[in-house]
Symmetry: C2
């Protein structure tokens, strides 16, 4: 039913689609499988954390009102199931709002929130095994990360890469579960990429769009894969063609990135966990500030001025946030994040909720500025170096630096830290009792042994959604 | 619940949102109401024509499988209803595939296929009146056309404006039916625009994406309006902001177009009907060829060479189609369209299906070329001038010209012609008996008097979807 068009040439995008279609569990190195389990548990904590947030509840209400009342797919925090499409949209919205989900540095792309929700929903609908789920998710990570790298820095200046590359990532994961062949996967990529969307403009007025971007990517990518399985065709070169994604949305796209190291370089394992509950662009400076404060025994009262030496991407995303109006917007304020770190040693969900607009936070926030740094900018996005200069109230000039912020592959979280983070996130959100969450996380660590993927939380626990 | 962010400035986009939110039936001049009825009946014919086409059936199957089994919203050609979201996606896919739906010249935007499906679905869900439906559709047309004009020619080189501007058009129509105020409409625009997508790349390999673009625009725009009604916020300046649609997807955007003549200039009434069943970019040349052949009594056997003098947009869209592989792709082949017109006087659905790959068509197709014309290009997109030069087999050089192709506002279709076109379309598609279609069209001409919008086709008639 699906046929390759005679005019469809070989291309890096086609190679990437074939890789995603053909990926087998046995090909994935053991440490990459283990890291994928880490990422899944970490994602689950974020999804539980966000499930009852106002914008997420709006998306979940819409998706459920337009979908069936019952179905095999879990909406995190809800006792009743629905269709794969509705569940994928709701859970993708849920797992990005706490700003605690993972990030891949080189692509500036958040894979978990657009890969796990559609893959989980479809695995539940099909009764796929845990290994099939993990394999599909690795396909989603490998594809999404390479598409993000391909689209480049010019893309990220205007477009939210998690929304745009995310449609391809979701299509790859779902397409793998549906058993698409290489040609079918290429059609799925075509249908995903032509729905690719997500603009940063929403940050300027603290709007809710970030949750819509992930919901949209998960839903559109899932739809693209189902359509391909039904014989619906897509552009053969949606990524690199003359009227494709790069042509429309990038000026520095590099097609070579699409097939970079496929099968030998596992981009999944390069993914970083988030330690602070804020935009990843704030983390290097936050950790550098902690480093210099600890090294010199400084308290928040000792700070007179903090200059963060950053890459251009940080200025593009954080620069417009000069007077954060909401707790979510404050997670994109370099000043707020550093103020919380200076006071509490960590900018977590609890610190944001309790203190993001306190008098002390606002005072410290006003002392923080960003300056473009040539070294940091040249290393970005492959490495996210943190550098700060602190002027103390007694007139000293001190320098802080970290080369890998906490959570990066070289400074990663242990399974105990990932479990603790997930439990903390669930407790903060409420709606899921700690013992229930603890049992669910313990069970989830065994995902590779599951014969069929079922619910992650028991149906008797009704959350706040 | 919805609040305007303090940083949200006044802007042409905000003016346009307020216009859509505040539009009342009594403000719309009588001729514009009548033209909107014309456009609705014309759309209905296209939706019936396309409902069973393979790519449309795929999208309808997906939407229905992910939505509820029953509901108040009609999927054209199906006896059972579903949710507004699923019905809007299915019907939007259906009404663009026959290439017979309307087009607004200045914006190069096909309004009907992205405005009527979501508006009809929501009107059926709410039990809105015929006048409320018409008012909402005028809001959708006025918004979508202006957004298309705003995005400009550079946008159209890579992006399918019906897909991108279409999300805003759908959001405006649905938002008006849901009773959004000006602030709510602005949020709906933000959520619609940040999902805006659709790339021309698919044409190169004759893929099915055009139907996905309209389904996507209708679904995403409808979702944006429902979310806004639930308090979900969007970017205040998604159109003209520094990281908004124009920043990401245009280099010649003109914000002044967004609020151009609101309330005095009715862009709805500028919309053209399609006479030929092909890409609108082929129509001016097709009519010019007819003109010169009729003026000189030529038959197809008299043609040795035909040069069409066209605007750049025609070359951008039609140029890649050098060897059409499917009937749908052949509707984007200038040579095929002119070959059919030369032989049959009209390039309708029946002519395409029967003759698009015939030996005679292919021979004539090879005689047709496109050349950029300064006069035609300068007038475009406001006016679509048709100019051809014909070299006859006996060596004459003849010139054909039309200033308004058939279906344009100055050369429009009568209600009898619109009815006949709709009946012809339904008959061609099959699945809906002629008497049923005739009764449905007659009933639809009275839409302004309906107290509550119900099904357009009776539920007992099950079509091919």
């Amino acid at each position: 039913m699906i046929s390759t068009h005679p005019d469809a040439p070989e291309s890096p995008g086609a190679t990437l689609a074939a890789f995603a279609a053909d990926l087998c569990f046995s090909q994935i190195p053991e440490p990459v499988v283990r890291r994928t389990e880490d990422l899944l548990v970490d994602w689950f904590g974020s999804a539980v954390a966000g499930h009852a947030a106002r914008p997420v509840a709006s998306i979940a209400r819409f998706a459920r009102s337009q979908g069936p009342d019952t179905g095999p797919c879990e909406v995190i925090g809800s006792a009743t199931g629905t269709s794969p499409y509705a569940a994928a949209q709701a859970n993708a919205a849920a797992s990005h709002v706490a700003e605690q989900d993972d990030v891949h540095n080189g692509s500036v792309f958040h894979p978990a929130t657009v890969v796990f929700p559609p893959a989980l929903a479809v695995a539940q609908a099909l009764g796929a095994s845990g290994r099939e789920l993990l394999t599909a998710c690795v396909a989603g990570y490998e594809v999404g990360i390479r598409v993000g790298e391909f689209l480049g820095r010019s893309h990220y200046r205007v477009f939210h890469t998690t929304g745009t590359a995310g449609t391809l990532a979701a299509a790859a994961a779902v397409g793998r579960l549906l058993g698409l062949d290489a040609t079918g996967m290429r059609h799925a990529f075509g249908s995903a990429g032509t729905q690719s969307a997500g603009l940063w403009e929403f940050l300027r007025t603290a709007a809710d769009s970030k949750q819509l971007h992930t919901a949209h990517a998960a839903g559109a990518g899932l739809m693209a894969a189902y359509l391909a399985a039904d014989g619906f065709t897509g552009a053969a070169q949606i990524l690199e063609g003359p009227q494709g994604m790069a042509a429309g949305m990038s000026i520095d796209a590099d097609p070579a990135r699409l097939a970079d190291g496929l099968g030998t370089r596992w981009a999944t394992a390069e993914t970083s966990f988030k330690y602070h509950a804020s935009c990843r662009h704030t983390h290097p400076a936050a950790d550098a500030l902690l480093q210099v404060m600890q090294a010199h025994g400084l308290g928040p009262q000792d700070l007179a001025r903090v200059v963060t030496h950053v890459h251009q991407g940080a200025i593009d995303v954080l620069g417009p946030v000069t007077n954060p109006a909401t707790v979510h917007q404050s997670k994109f304020s370099m000043g707020t994040v550093l103020a919380l770190v200076a006071q509490y040693g960590h900018a977590g969900l609890a610190e944001f909720d309790a203190h993001y607009r306190s008098r002390a936070t606002q005072a410290l926030c006003g002392m923080v500025e960003m300056a473009l740094d040539a070294e940091v900018d040249a290393a970005y996005p492959r490495r996210w170096i943190g550098k700060v200069t602190v002027i103390t109230t007694d007139g000293r000039m001190l320098h802080g630096r970290v080369d890998e912020p906490k959570g990066d592959p070289g400074n990663t979280l242990s399974r105990a830290e990932i479990t603790a983070k997930a439990l903390r996130l669930a407790e903060h959100a409420g709606g899921v009792p700690p013992a229930t969450m603890q049992a669910a996380v313990e069970r989830l660590w065994g995902v590779a042994g599951w014969s069929a993927v079922g619910r992650l939380l028991p149906a008797v626990e009704e959350g706040g959604a």
